[in-house]
Structure formats: C-alpha cells, structure tokens
C-alpha cells in the first residue's frame, strides 16, 4: 500500500510523543486525526497538563503558523477575527487580521468567552472565512483550532451550547501522564524552549496531500458504515439520551475513522478504527435527559459501542 506522506506524519507523531510530549500519545494522535480530517479539536482538561505545549509542539513540528487566543469574559469578537482600522496615510480602512488567521489556533478556555464571541469563533471554524464589515477574508489552509475547556463548573463561564459542540470533530481529555514519565518531566523541567527550537518535520503541503489521500483513497466498507450507523441509531433510540448523534456526527466519525486507518497504514477502515475514534468523536454530541445529566457521556457511549456486534464477515 502506498499511502503518501504517511511515514512522515508517523515520524512527527513518533518524535512528538517520544521527545516533547511524553505521555500524551493519545492526544497527539487524536489531534493529528482531527487535522487530517479537517476538523477541530476540543481538549477538555484541567490547566497545567500541557495543552498549550501540545498545540505549540504540533504547530512547530508541522511548520505551521500558530496563534493563540486566551478567552476572557470581556473578549470581543473583533479580538479574534481582527478589525478594520482607518489608516489616515492611506485614507482607507485597513483590515488587521486577528489571531484566528493562523494554521493552528489555540483557543484557551473557550468557555470563558461571551456567547457572542464564541459564536464568532465557531462561525469562523465552520465557514473557514471571516466576514468583517462586509468583506470576507478566507482563513489559511490547513486550519486547525485546538480549543481547551476547563471541565469544572466555574462561575462566570458560558458553557458551549450543545449545538456548537457539534462543530468540534473530536473532544478529548489529556489526563495525567503515567507516573514514571511525569517524574521525568518534573525532573527535566519545562521544555517550552526546546519546543521553540524544534525542527520543522513536515511542510504545509504534506498535510494537504495526506488529506486528499484520506478523502479519496481510504475505502470505507458498507459493513463499517452499517456498524457506525447502528451505533448512531442506538444513541438516538436510547431512553437515557435526548438527542443522539446527528448525521453530521456520523460524517465526522467516518472521516476520523478514515484518518485513523491512514495512520495505521491501511487503505480500508476496520471496526477497530471506528472503536478507537467513536467516543472522542461522538460523546460530546450527545444530549442527555434532564434527569440523567450527571452521567458520563464517554462511558455511556462506550457501553453502547460494546453492545454492538462487530461485523466480522
């Protein structure tokens, strides 16, 4: 099988996971899957576990531009998208691009921003363009938003509405690193400087080529689609769940599974691909019933997944 650029991408993951982002292999992989399937990723975890490091390392290794938005309750939409300023010398308005005009944008603590600001960001994510004062500015390609969110209920936060959670292809946590690795990390100190100087391992075009390969060459069988569809139907029919995975959720799941197959070096999707992305792709899209809101969506979806027979023949 000839999967273009796969080796290079694997090398990136390898390098990042072994040197710079030890203990975060899962998050790295999922970020790469999101990037390859053209989606965005939502990291939901407490601060200080290396979310920023992850985003920095990723952009550094991929040779992509990096922007960062720290959300606060007084952040305005224009702080993200940029704004037009009248330039007297040119006697015209000039558009100053906001931080969203980067390949990889880290949006820290997205739930601290006001809904209006959130919606401006999400619109940009969805449309891949920004319209300011009637003029539309396209965003760069590839474009990956890594949003982070603190899962704890906090005062002064605006939780993302369910409808907008749907815009992220993947939501995942990072989790504490394994004990040994964490000790090493503690001993080694911050590696922020190292990351700043890490070599570029991939050019921008590689990503585009890989994406194209995934979209066109990875075969997804009817059996796998059926398998996914059964999971989706289960989420729709489950009495605990108010609204299940939508069609868009299904599309995203297929995309992610294909990207995963690509990373695994296969040009076809197997059930394990679906299993390994399903929870990350699907869980945050579920809306639970009022009385069951306390349930862990990941676990719920995982249990549903376990109940579906894997198509073997």
């Amino acid at each position: 099988m000839n999967l273009p650029k796969r080796d290079e991408i694997l090398h990136v993951i390898e390098t990042l996971a072994s040197r710079y982002l030890r203990g975060k292999i899962r998050a790295v992989k999922l970020s790469m899957i999101a990037l390859l399937s053209g989606g965005h990723i939502l990291l939901e975890d407490i601060p200080g576990l290396g979310k920023t490091t992850l985003a920095l390392a990723l952009s550094g290794a991929l040779g992509l531009s990096f922007g960062r938005i720290q959300c606060t309750s007084d952040l305005m939409p224009s702080d993200i998208t940029g704004l037009s300023i009248y330039k007297r010398e040119e006697a015209a308005f000039k558009f100053f691009k906001g931080p969203v005009f980067n390949n990889i944008v880290l949006v820290d603590e997205i739930n601290r921003a006001m809904p209006r600001t959130q919606s401006a960001l999400l619109e940009a994510m969805e449309e891949r363009k920004v319209t300011v004062e009637g003029i539309t500015h396209p965003l760069p390609d590839p474009f990956l938003v890594i949003a982070t969110q603190n899962p704890m209920e906090q005062v002064g936060t605006y939780p993302l509405p369910e409808s907008q959670m749907d815009r992220f292809i993947i939501r995942t946590g990072i989790g504490y690193p394994p004990e040994n690795i964490e000790k090493t990390i503690i001993r080694g100190g911050s590696i922020r400087d190292e990351i700043m100087q890490m070599p570029v391992l991939l050019v921008q075009n590689d990503i585009v080529v890989a994406r194209q390969c995934i979209r066109q060459d990875i075969y997804i069988s009817d059996k796998i689609v059926e398998y996914m569809y059964r999971l989706i139907r289960e989420t729709r029919n489950n009495p605990l769940i108010l609204s299940g995975i939508s069609t868009r959720g299904g599309i995203n799941m297929a995309d992610a599974a294909k990207a995963r197959a690509y990373l695994e070096g296969r040009d076809y999707v197997i059930p394990e691909d679906v299993q390994s992305v399903a929870v990350a792709v699907g869980a945050h899209r579920l809306v639970l019933n009022q009385e069951n809101e306390g349930l862990n969506k990941e676990e719920l979806l995982d249990s549903l997944l376990k109940n579906i027979e894997v198509p073997l023949a």
Binding site: I270, P271, E272, N307, E309, L312
Partner: protein, 633 residues
C-alpha cells in the same frame, strides 16, 4: 420484528399437540410413533422451508391409514380406531407445508381429536387442554387474519403483545357463557369409553369372598376407591365397613344369601357424618365408616349386620351421605342363630383344634376367651406381610404354626376359625382400613390397597364385638404410609383435590336437584352461590406444553457464507490456542490478535480484513490461503 408466519407455525404446532396430548396414551403404538415422527419431521421441514414428501404420496398414505383403522371399527371397538384415524390424518397433514388451508385442516383435525378425547377421558385434563386449545385457536385466528389481509407480514414485539392480549380476551369473554352452560347442564358422569367397555371396568378392593392362600400377594394398586368427606378422625377409627361374610364354604368365607333375622342396635357414641364419593364400580355394597347406621342419597337397604346394599346397581357416579357411630360392637336384642355362625368346614387341622381347646380352657366367659386368643396371637409373634403368603393345603395351619407371616385375610380368617372352633360365633367384615386425609379438600382418600378384613365375635349379653387380629402382628405399628411422602405426596394430594372438586362441582352437579331443594327451602339466594373452584385450573401451568414452546422458539441456524465459515474456523483455532485473548462480539479481529504473538494469526487477520472490509467476496484460492494460515496457528 417477528414474522407472523413463524408465529402461526408455532401456534399450529401447539394446537395439534394440545389436541393429541389427551388421547396420546390411548393411541396405538404405531399411531403414536407416526405422530411423533411427523411432528418432528414437520418441524424440520418447516425450518428448512422444504417439504420433501410429495402431496400425492401423503394422500395415498392417508387413505391407507384410513382403511387400516376403518376396518377395525366394530361395535365393541368404536372410539379407538376413530381417534387413531384422526391422529394419523393429522400426522400426515403435519408433513405438508403450513399454508392457510393446511393450517385450518390441522386445527380442525386437532379439534376433533380433542373432542374425541372427551369420549375417552372426561377429566380435569380435558378442561385444561380445552381452555389452552381455545386460547391458542383464538390467537392463531387473529394472527391468521393479520396474515391473510397482508397488512404486516412482520410485526414488532409490543404490537405482538397487544394483539395477543386482545386475542386472548376473546375466549375469556365467553367464560361466563361457559359457566352458564355448566350451570344449566348436568353432565354424563362417564367418559363414553367406560360405557362401551363397562364389563372390563371394575374397581376391585375388598372382595366378596375371602379365601386365604388363593394368591401369593394382594392388590397394591393406588386406584382410588372412594373419597369420604368428613372431619379428621383418629387413625384407629378409620375402619370402613363394606361387607359381612358370615359363612365358610370350604376354606372360603362368603356372604350367605339368607339373612339372619337379628334385632340389632348400636349404642350411642361419637357420631361422624360422611359424604362419600365412590369411584364408579359395580359392587352393590356401600362402604362407610364403621359402624354406619344410616345411608342416604342412594336407594340402599340396610341388612341387620349393617351391610348396606344398593338397590339398583347402575354404573353411575353417585354420592351418598352416611351417618356412622364410632362403636366397638353391635348390640343385639334377643338371640341370634348361633349355629349359623359356628359352622366350620370339615378338615380343620389337629393343631388348630388343640390350640382352640387349650385357649377355651383358659377363659371362662366368651369375652375372656376372645382376649386369651388375642394374647396367644401376640405371643405367637405373627408378622404382617403382603408378600410370600402361605399357599399350602391348609394355609391357616401353615400361617399359625410354621410361616407365621400373612396379610389381614390370614389374621382374620384364622382368628375367626379358631373362635368358631372354640364355640364363639364369629364372622368376617370386609372393607377398608386407613385413608389419606386431604387437608385441601377435607376428605379421606381411600385406595384399593387399603382393603382390609377384620372380624366380629359374638359375645353373649353384649353383641357383635369388633376385633382386628391384624393388630396382633408384631410389625403392626410399621404399616407404612401408603401415599408416598414429601413433595410427591403433596403434589398427588393437590392433584387429587382438583379432580375431586371437578367431580363434585362439575360432573356430579345436578342443578335440577339443587333447584328442587331451593324451592323447598325457599332459600333462593344462598342456594345459587356455587363455589366454582375449578376456576383455579386456569392458572395451572401445563409443563410439557411450555417446554415444547421453548424448544420451538429457539433460534434457528442460518445459511453460512464462505467468509463466516473460515472465520468460524479461525476463531475456533484461536480460542483453542490462546484462550486468554480478548474475544467477544464487541472485539474486532485486529484487537483479538493484537495481544497474541502469532505471525500466522496476524497474517490471517490482515489478509481477511483486506478482503472483507473492502466489500469483496472471498475467492476460492483466497479461502484456501486463509485456511492454510488458520491451520498454522
């Protein structure tokens, strides 16, 4: 979703089993075999969806069976061949495809068979089968309607439940009507079969002759002789008087045809009312608790020796009320014909004669002599047994002096004979001793093996004194509980109580009589409150029927593709080799082999997944290659 066709097929099998079950034991062995074979073959055919036997062959088969049994019909043997014909026709139908028409035929044939079973056995099981049958038929017909209208060929489970529930309500709604029928309609007390073969039908039990030594054993049959509704009594009082045998003809005790005129009376004592429901039998003697002073409910005459004889001996299920007094003796005013009661046949052995003489000398009064004889029996260490009874020329002599083991007949006849030789008038009393009290029904159940013989000795100034010499046996106290023990006993008693209620409230229910009583007593409202305990029967679970249902409902195997086949082989191999790996319906193939260090297995999975998840079909050579890889594991 459940296919209606499947439901229909299952129901039709239930229907035919319900129809045939009540007569199954009455069928010919051939016919039973045919039915069971056809049933199994039919099920297999239906599951395979092919019916291998040609319609014409089946028709010819039906005709052959029909003539075979039809030729055996005669006036003596009417019902059995007819039922056999019905069942064989049904069996043949079972082999055909279950189209609507064939199903209807099966249902109708089953119905006729079930109806025919009422000729054989009109018991409680008939009602049970009838109710289940009607329920099945109702559900069947409703689904048939759905099927015929083609509205849905498959149906989801909640709908299924709804439909079944409503269908079930249909026979239930007709229950009040059935009750009305049962109310206004007195039934025949007999299954017709019994009628037609009444000569062969006789409940044995106490016999009208006692001849010890005539057989080596006695009846151990648990057949019910009668049920007696009464209060609970002490075990020692459970003597059921049937017949008095007053004459010895050779070694046989019989009842003389001439009744001695005796002026008998019974002293006042504890009175027991019983209502006795005998099983149909031809004996004219009406057993009742010793001593019965009055029997009403059937036309019966009381002989002076308190034997009650039925005037008309009709083979009809009757019941009668008896009033008994728990008395030890029958008093006599005036004299009795002592000579009649002292007659002994010639040829009494010398040993017996001398024993009698010896004991005669020991006592002065008759009463004392009787007591002495009893003491002699005790010291003789006779033991009670139903097996290996003495069968020599003079069994009494053998029993008393050498064998020293016998049943009640030996005890009673030897005692009575000795008394007669001693000059004390004596006579045998045949009847039953014992009874299992059914707490549920409040009645004693008396079975054939409780038949018993004791005796009465005439003591001057007192009358006929009752003596049971069997009590003098060394092992008397050990006579076993005759109705089994533990759970089995409970179940048998429960079943018997149900049958009893059935007979009491349904079969022998005579509304006309009730209404006449009603009119007399002017107590209308109370009289109309019948207790229909038979209603409880509906809750009764019919276990074999349920088992069958379960078997039928089991999942069927499906046609297997090449992929499934090789996959099954692979997983089987893998499981054998690596039982600890992850398996399960939620595990993919790659996950299965991930933890296993087996290159062949990995290769297999890579290869197999590459075919299957690319939506290709496995080619033959690929199959062989996979096979080879699987073998290498």
């Amino acid at each position: 979703m459940v296919k209606i066709k499947t439901i229909l097929t299952i129901l039709i099998y239930c229907i035919c089993i319900l129809g045939v079950a009540p007569v199954f034991l009455y069928l010919d062995v051939i016919c039973r075999l045919i039915f069971v074979t056809s049933l199994i073959a039919g099920i297999i055919f239906d599951r395979k969806g092919r019916h291998y036997i040609h319609g014409l062959a089946l028709t010819i088969l039906s005709i052959v069976f029909f003539f075979y049994y039809a030729l055996r019909i005669s006036s003596d043997n009417l019902v059995s061949p007819a039922i056999n014909i019905l069942v064989t026709l049904l069996s043949v139908r079972l082999l055909t495809e279950k189209t609507g028409r064939n199903c209807m035929q099966i249902a109708v044939l089953s119905l006729f068979t079930l109806a025919g079973s009422s000729l054989v056995n009109l018991g409680i099981t008939f009602l049970l089968h009838l109710v289940l049958f009607l329920l099945c038929i109702a559900v069947f017909l409703v689904f048939q309607t759905f099927y015929a209208t083609g509205i849905n060929t498959a149906i989801c489970v909640p709908d299924l439940k709804k439909i079944a529930a409503t269908a079930l309500s249909m026979p239930l709604i007709s229950l009040p009507l059935m009750l009305v029928f049962f109310m206004i309609i007195p039934r025949t007390e007999y299954p017709l079969w019994n009628f037609l073969n009444s000569s062969g039908q006789k409940v044995t039990g106490f016999s009208e002759k006692v001849q010890p030594g005539s057989s080596t054993g006695v009846s151990e049959s648990k057949n019910v002789v009668f049920r007696a509704q009464s209060r609970r009594l002490a075990d020692k009082d459970l003597y059921w008087r049937g017949i008095v045998l007053d004459t010895m003809e050779g070694k046989t005790w019989v009842r003389s045809s001439v009744r001695e005129h005796e002026n008998t009376f019974v002293e006042k004592g504890s009175t027991v009312h019983q209502t006795i429901f005998p099983e149909p039998n031809t004996s004219p003697y009406l057993p009742a608790l010793n001593l019965p002073v009055n029997i009403s409910g059937v036309q019966a005459g009381r002989d002076p020796d308190y034997t009650f004889v039925r005037r008309q001996s009709r083979q009809k299920r009757v019941k009668y009320d008896s009033v008994s007094v728990l008395a030890d003796f029958i008093g006599i005013h005036g004299r009795i014909n002592k000579e009649h009661y002292l007659r002994t046949p010639a040829g009494t052995s010398r040993r017996i004669m001398s024993l009698a003489q010896k004991i005669s000398l020991e006592g002065t009064t008759d009463e004392e002599k009787v007591m002495r004889l009893g003491q002699d029996f005790v010291t003789r260490k006779l033991s009670y047994t139903n097996n290996d009874l003495p069968r020599s020329e003079d069994p009494i002599d053998e029993f008393l002096f050498s064998n020293k083991a016998g049943n009640c007949e030996f005890f009673a006849t030897s005692f009575a004979q000795l008394l007669r030789v001693m000059g004390i008038p004596s006579r045998l009393v045949g009847g039953y001793y014992g009874g299992t009290y059914n707490d549920m029904g409040g009645y004693y159940l008396v079975t054939e093996d409780m038949a018993h013989v004791w005796l009465e000795a005439y003591v001057d100034g007192k009358g006929w004194l009752m003596i049971d010499p069997s009590r003098f046996a060394t092992n008397y106290a050990q006579r076993e509980n005759r109705f089994g023990t533990g759970l089995f006993k409970d179940v048998r008693l429960m079943m018997d109580a149900l049958g009893y209620y059935w007979n009491q409230t349904v079969i022998s229910y005579d509304l006309e009589k009730q209404v006449q009583v009603l009119k007399k007593t002017n107590d209308a409202v109370r009289g109309l409150r019948f207790s229909f305990e038979s209603r409880k029967l509906i809750y009764f679970v019919f276990p074999p029927f349920l088992c069958l249902l379960f078997i039928i409902l089991r999942k069927k195997f499906r046609y297997t593709s090449l992929e499934e086949k090789i996959l099954r082989t692979f997983i089987k191999k893998l499981r054998q080799k690596y039982p600890d790996a992850r398996y399960g319906p939620d595990t993919g193939l790659h996950d299965m082999v991930k933890s296993i260090d087996d290159p062949a297995a990995r290769q297999f999975v890579e290869y197999y997944a590459g075919v299957v998840y690319r939506d290709r079909k496995l080619k033959r050579n690929e199959y062989d290659r996979l096979r080879e890889l699987a073998d290498r594991i």
